[in-house]
């Protein structure tokens, strides 16, 4: 598949995805034909990482077979072609999230993107980056606000930044259902708040954060907003300009792309004013033995030889998603998610974590089976070929707030069918019987 010139998903008249189409899409993902422990694989762990269509790894292979060369250096033809592919990939992915080309920095994943921001701000706090970077400098009295929903990747970098600068880290708590207590946000976000970092979609609950409300609160106090788009960019149409956020991190491997590639969106005027994080070759204009001058974004943040094949692979993945249509993927996963949620809720001894039906969420459902530990639930499901995630899903504080140490999480993507969901529900219904837990 190739990338279309326009978003096909902007056409409301198109047909929704159904089981027939989802089954057809599956043919593009050979791994889904695998047998696991004697059963057909039912992959419900796309929240951790998605599977990849053949076109993605064929694109990587094609790059190595035909175009491999160092980019942004050397005058030979191969290098020029490789540079074109690399920058075309940036353009494709930037357009996919509504950004300008120079507003997308390649990183290895969302974790690195978030660390890029925090290390850059720490550098600014240490006085690097001159006058332009002073807007990012933090110190005692300044506040960073996150939420209790966060994945560790959007929590620990901010903890570290607070430790390094003397700033204070605060958070918007969740209630016992894992719903953000938005009524408290107005008190927690104050004139001292410099950064508001929050997830777009909870990686555990699949619930969607009220971005406009938080962006408006940040705007009233002049705080920068940082969005964790790991679970939204793969599953929903996301437009960074429409959302009005300053930064967004996302990972390629969760959206049909290869591992080792992700992105940081930042408003151009902010990225160009930020001190670099990683330094070295390819990110400079002039270097003496004493000091260096840096290129503007995005190259200022892309030191060293880049992930060229991976960027090309991710652009190919984005083309695939565009061709299916993000609005259609969103609707399909909402359908699968609600079927999963209502199905789990109707099984004796199974508790759905998070809010119940009627709340918009992606196809993600965390649950507890009374009397059976999540690790055992996952093992039982695996014996039937069903792959789910167990544990704390890199969100220990959220689990603590929900009153559990860990959970079992099933998460969908465009290639899942209703029969996948039904197989999950049938298997979950058998768990307590197997482990001899009376109902």
């Amino acid at each position: 598949m190739t990338s279309s010139a326009t978003h096909p998903n902007h056409d409301d008249s198109i047909q929704p995805i159904n089981d027939i189409e989802a089954s057809r899409l599956r043919a593009d993902f050979p791994i889904l034909e695998r047998t696991i422990n004697g059963s057909a694989l039912i992959y419900l762990d796309s929240g951790a990482t998605s599977q990849k269509p053949t076109c993605v790894y064929e694109a990587e292979q094609q790059y190595y077979e035909t175009f491999n060369a160092a980019v942004h250096r050397g005058a030979h033809s191969l290098s020029v072609e490789a540079t074109d592919i690399f920058e075309q990939a940036r353009s494709t992915v930037a357009r996919f999230i509504g950004a300008k080309d120079n507003e997308l920095v390649w990183t290895s994943n969302a974790t690195e993107a978030l660390n890029l921001i925090t290390y850059s701000f720490a550098n600014a706090s240490a006085g690097l980056g001159g006058e332009a970077a002073r807007q990012f400098a933090l110190g005692p009295g300044d506040e960073i606000v996150v939420t209790e929903l966060e994945h560790h990747a959007n929590l620990i970098p901010w903890q570290e930044l607070a430790f390094r600068t003397g700033a204070t880290l605060k958070y918007i708590p969740v209630d016992e259902h894992g719903v953000l207590r938005m009524e408290l946000a107005g008190e927690i976000i104050t004139e001292r708040t410099r950064i508001l970092a929050f997830t777009h979609v909870s990686n555990v609950l699949g619930t969607i954060t009220e971005v406009p409300k938080l962006v408006a609160l940040a705007a009233t106090v002049g705080a920068l907003t940082v969005l964790d788009g790991c679970q939204s960019v793969p599953h929903l149409p996301v437009d960074v300009k429409a959302l009005g956020i300053d930064f967004m991190a996302f990972s390629g491997h969760k959206m049909l792309g290869p591992t080792g590639i992700g992105g940081l969106y930042g408003r151009a005027e902010l990225l160009d004013a930020m001190p670099p994080f990683l330094t070295g070759g390819s990110m400079i204009t002039s270097v003496t033995m004493e000091k260096a001058e840096y290129l503007p974004s995005p190259m200022r943040f892309e030191a060293g030889t880049q992930r060229i094949a991976q960027a090309h692979g991710l652009a190919t993945a984005v083309g695939y998603l565009d061709e299916v249509g993000m609005n259609r993927i969103e609707a399909w996963e909402e359908h699968l998610g609600q079927r999963m949620i209502s199905g789990l809720q109707s099984i004796d001894g199974v508790t759905l974590l998070g809010p119940g039906t009627g709340v918009t969420r992606i196809g993600t459902a965390p649950f507890a089976v009374q009397g059976v530990h999540p690790h055992d639930v996952g093992q039982f499901l695996d014996a039937r070929g069903i792959a789910v995630r167990v544990g704390h899903h890199c969100a220990q504080p959220l689990h603590r707030a929900l009153g559990v140490n860990s959970s079992t999480r099933a998460s969908t993507y465009l290639y899942n069918t209703t029969s996948d969901i039904d197989a999950l529900l049938n298997a979950v219904a058998d768990v307590r019987g197997y482990f001899g837990v009376s109902s």
Binding site: H375, F380, Q396, N405
Partner: protein
Amino acid sequence: MSELDQLYQQIILDHAKARKGDGLLEGAPGTQTGESMQHNPVCGDQIRLRVHMEGSIIKDVSWEGDGCSISMASASVLTELASGHEREEFLNVLGEFRELMRSRGTMAGDEEILEDAAAFAGVSKFPARVKCAMLAWVAAEAALLAANS
């Protein structure tokens, strides 16, 4: 028997439900106490295990923890195997159990030595679960060291 049934032997499921040693004990006067807290960050399993020693004799083992059936059953089985035994004798059992866990399904487990712990042989076929089974044993090893120092 399916691999799943080999993993979840009835003995293991029974120990996971009726757990020996669950609930920390206070030591009698004259005993040395050793304690260790162990985590499995992958799945969030955790255990705090305590031993009371009278000379080289393990007077009692007690613990509190939260985890999967394999980790909890393993702590229960360990409690039976260690309580009232010579330290060195138990460390031999521990060595045997560790070897079984590392066997990737190639060992049967000597019931003479391991008693109920031999039922964990099936766990060794599931590399992701070996840590669960070993959690209490690692804690016991560290607690014995702590009591000795």
